[in-house]
């Protein structure tokens, strides 16, 4: 009774369902296949009913969620592909290898569509590095892992975000997003549609590393998780580079029907999914699979998650051409099976079938209906002690790891390789890359767990709103989104409630913004068994936008003396969940409000101003509020500014709220065409006002009762040196 004896995460209902559906007792190998394929990680059995409410259709969408990557059309026969992956559990036990192989996985997803990976982004979340050496160690090694792998395969890491919060102390989150570029007529889908085609396994050989990775990712981390290091794969970026080039050449040569990344669940998952999608069957022969170590059992072979492996479906008759291309790149390839019309995955050893399961059964785990219950909201912490020294607060915020410049991180990433990166890290609110048809793609990834903790619905929608504002600020029209929902154990009804609400928040705003979701991922079990502490709800949202013309590309640095500074959007007394309140130790309360319609109008109005050429610099106003936003623009531009915030659109609020409130739907921009800009915002019914001018060596802010003056050099030091001082204090 294997279902009871080895590591098996199937529920009693799933075991019963299996016996009933098959009408027999599966053998040990068959149980293992089902276990791997039906892990939460591979099957989305808990989340599928929830995520199905996301809008997925749109003018630009060619392929939505359900394949290795989402595909959008960008005109001139070109397509962009996009996918998000996480490697949270592996990175928690082996940050270097976990982060590196995370990139390997997401790059394969892009490659599977027949497209070339052209950009990587990272969304990282760690514990408080000002207090925890463990979190510092995780951060340093995750960054090194991403750098060593991404740089080596020649795909630039162009943007991302990092958030620090104590809830990630034991469960760091490592999300990697990859964007691909290709031709519509060369698009591949991972479908084995044609009996007679051959299945090739290319790239690395199969070993015991990564055994049970998918089930590992579908459990909570326990005290003995370090023993799970065998569930982390070993990175090999050079082999990956050769696979990328070989696969793209094979695709151009037209010898492939499709292509599938081997990720979670290994061959078991990969084979059953391509057969199920193609409504076919597959015969696979174990002795044809190149192995890295002796005496591997059929189970180990079928569920191993060894890295750098891909399944290629060679068109019947094209086998030798495919083998020749692989040989040119010295990528090992083995014909391990063939496509049949049986609709069964059949595993042969020495010519005898030793396991046989229907592919639609294997690839479609029964849905689990989870219970959801609204948690009690944390009461706001007691009386808030307002700080008198507003300058000290500003310096404190600029040097806090979540806000401070991430140059220490992105300086280690080759963000320019491929010579497409036009707006580089630190220059604008999103990365912008040039495309062969004269357009540009803008990409940004965002998260904000503190707001989600207050209200997952508003929180997740606010993340999407912020990501769209970031895309808008560089002059792009938001075109598609990817979501990644990271939560604790879904058996916990409160966790599942938060997950459901977060997805609904994303879905509702996405509908208003006409923004389709082209892919995503759900990752549960982000909590540790020792302290029974789940992470805060941590959705990560990536938005992709298109810039039509080069002169629309906009950066954030203040550029010319005496240009007018415009504040867009109304500041309200909304400081709950803000960096400011976190800084002074205040928690809880209702999150900033979000008016979906106004958010869309605000973005449209800003984009209109940019397209008319009115805007010289633009920055989304989010973490740290108006004070931090303005300071960042000044620091990046190496120029001061003088503003009177009492002239900005605002509700009745105190000076500290005016500076640090994180109300939604706000931007700061600069222009020499003040009247045109204000007229445009009026036309869109969006509040906006001129608040000051660019110039000088300091940032001067007039408030209702107070005045804040801070030398630019002081702001620069706080902002640019902070991360290095925390991570490498021995460097002066």
């Amino acid at each position: 009774m294997i279902a009871n004896t080895i590591t098996c995460s199937l529920t009693p209902e799933e075991v019963r369902f299996t016996r009933q559906r098959l009408g027999r007792e599966p053998n040990e190998l068959e149980w293992a296949l089902i276990d791997a394929e039906w892990s939460e990680h591979c099957s989305y059995k808990s989340s599928r009913t929830v995520i199905s409410q996301l809008p997925t259709g749109g003018d630009h969408v060619l392929v939505g969620p359900g394949y290795d990557s989402g595909v959008i059309e960008i005109g001139d026969g070109l397509i962009l592909t996009a996918h998000i992956e996480s490697h949270n559990h592996p990175s928690a036990v082996d940050p270097y290898g976990g982060a590196a192989t995370g990139i390997g996985g997401v790059v394969r997803d892009i490659l599977c569509m027949g497209t070339r990976p052209i950009a990587l982004l990272d969304s990282l979340k760690f514990g408080d590095i000002t207090k925890s050496d463990h979190s510092k160690w995780l951060l340093k090694n995750v960054v090194r892992g991403i750098a060593d792998y991404g740089n080596c395969i020649g795909v630039p890491t162009v943007a991302g975000e990092i958030e620090f919060d104590e809830c990630y102390e034991r469960n760091c989150l490592v999300d990697v997003i990859c964007i691909g570029l290709g031709r519509k007529d060369e698009l591949l889908l991972a479908q084995a549609t044609s009996p007679g085609d051959s299945i090739f396994l290319v790239g690395g050989s199969t070993g015991r590393d990564g055994i049970h990775g998918a089930t590992f990712a579908s459990r909570v981390l326990a005290a003995d998780s370090d023993r799970d290091r065998s569930a982390v794969q070993i990175p090999d970026p050079f082999t990956k580079k050769m696979i990328i080039e070989a696969t793209l050449e094979a695709n151009r040569a037209g010898v492939m029907r499709g292509c599938k990344d081997l990720g979670g669940g290994g061959l078991a998952t990969g084979l059953s999914e391509i057969a199920d999608k193609g409504e076919s069957g597959i015969d696979v022969h174990l002795e044809m699979i190149p192995l890295r170590e002796p005496n591997m059992s059929p189970i180990e072979i079928m569920i191993s998650e060894s890295q750098e492996r891909m399944l290629l479906i060679a068109k019947n008759g094209s086998e030798s051409k495919l083998e020749a291309i692989m040989a040119k790149y010295e990528v090992s390839s083995a014909r391990i099976g063939e496509v049949t019309s049986t609709q069964m995955l059949t595993i042969f050893r020495a010519g005898k079938p030793i396991a046989q399961l229907p592919t639609d059964f294997l690839a479609n785990a029964p849905i689990i209906q989870r219970e959801a219950r609204q948690p009690k909201l944390n009461a706001p912490t007691g009386k808030i002690i307002r700080h008198e020294d507003l300058e000290q607060i500003l310096i404190g915020l600029l040097s806090s790891p979540t806000i401070a410049s991430k140059e220490w991180v992105y300086g280690q990433f080759d963000h320019e390789v491929g010579i497409r990166t036009v707006v580089k890290p630190g220059q604008g609110d999103a990365a912008v890359l040039r495309l062969p048809n004269g357009k540009f793609v803008a990409i940004k990834s965002d998260g904000n767990s503190r707001i989600c903790e207050l209200d997952p619905y508003i929180g997740a929608a606010s993340i999407l709103a912020e990501s769209c504002r970031n895309i808008t600020a560089v002059g792009a029209k938001p075109t598609a989104l990817l979501d990644h929902c990271q939560f604790g154990n879904p058996n916990d009804e409160e966790v599942f409630w938060s997950f459901s609400r977060a997805v609904k928040g994303i879905a509702d705003l996405a509908r208003v913004l006409h923004l389709p979701c082209v892919g995503g991922k759900v990752s549960f079990y982000n909590e540790d068994e020792e302290k029974h502490q789940a992470i805060k709800s941590s959705p990560v949202i990536t938005v992709i936008g298109i810039v039509d013309k080069p002169d629309h590309v906009t950066t954030m640095n203040l550029k010319l003396e005496n240009e007018i500074i415009i504040a867009v959007g109304k500041t309200k007394p909304e400081v709950n969940g803000s960096e400011y309140y976190n800084h002074i130790g205040s928690r809880g309360g209702a999150p900033p409000t979000l008016d979906f319609q106004l958010e869309g109008q605000t973005q449209n109005a800003v984009l209109e101003c940019i397209k008319h050429g009115y805007v010289t610099a633009c920055h989304d106003c989010a973490r740290g509020g108006l004070a931090v936003t303005l300071s960042e623009m000044a620091i990046r531009g190496e120029r001061g500014a003088t503003v009177d915030l009492t002239t900005s659109p605002m509700e009745s609020l105190t000076d500290d709220e005016l500076l640090y409130s994180e109300s939604n739907s706000r931007f700061i921009l600069t222009t020499s065409k003040r009247d045109d800009v204000l007229e445009t915002f009026q036309r869109f019914n969006v509040p906006a006002a001129a608040i000051g001018v660019v110039g000088g060596e300091s940032v001067n802010i007039t408030l209702q009762h107070d005045k804040l003056e801070c030398a630019l050099s002081k702001l620069q030091t706080a902002y640019t040196k902070s991360l290095e001082m925390i991570l490498e204090p021995w460097r002066k």
Partner: protein, 197 residues
């Protein structure tokens, strides 16, 4: 700039068909052992050696520079950056030698701006080598204002005696379009055309 260029495969390089060769950057063989060492032994290097010997322009950029050093077409060595980190950033450089195939279109002493992106780019040489490089004017460019990698005397690019073989850690191709941040790098390739005329 009209230059006809072809990508060649590492084991099928017919050097007689070309006027000049550029070894670009990019982790050849995954930087296994150390940057450039395996590529230095690839069949294509025979052709590169021949072209270098015949005075045809040979440029090594980043990993290409590492390969030229590992092939002993250029002296010295390239060590791990002193910060022990990969560094990707734009830097100011001063052009010291304009008698090479890749800098003849620059002014001596001119300041230019190009990015670097590498792990192992700290040029190192014994004192004797550094002295002779300086004396012979074979230091092609050095960092201005800062020395991000801790390289000897700020050296970022050197040449051989004849000036036809140049290695540089900077990436001129990344500074070849105003939308990418600058065009100083374009003149490296412009120099090559001028040199061949």
């Amino acid at each position: 700039m009209k230059i006809e260029a072809t990508l060649v495969w590492h084991n099928e390089f017919k050097s007689d068909a070309f006027d000049a060769v550029i070894l670009p950057g990019g982790f050849s063989f995954g930087d296994h052992l150390r940057g450039g060492i395996i590529a230095a032994h690839s069949p294509a290097m025979e052709g590169v050696r021949k072209m270098a010997g015949e005075g045809r322009p040979v440029l090594g950029i980043c990993n290409g520079f590492q390969i030229l050093i590992e092939s002993e077409l250029l002296p010295g060595s390239l060590l791990r950056n002193s910060s022990l980190r990969f560094i990707c950033k734009w830097t100011d450089l001063q052009v010291d030698n304009v008698d090479t195939a890749f800098t003849c279109a620059f002014e001596r002493g001119e300041t230019v701006r190009m990015p670097i992106a590498h792990n192992e780019g700290r040029f190192f040489g014994e004192e004797q080598l550094l002295n002779s490089l300086t004396a012979d004017g074979r230091v092609v460019m050095h960092y201005l204002n800062e020395n991000p990698t801790g390289t000897s005397q700020g050296i970022v690019s050197i040449s051989n005696d004849d000036g036809n073989v140049v290695g540089m850690m900077s990436h001129p191709e990344r500074a070849s379009d105003i939308s990418l941040g600058g065009t100083d790098g374009l003149r490296v390739f412009g120099s090559m055309l001028e040199w061949m005329r």
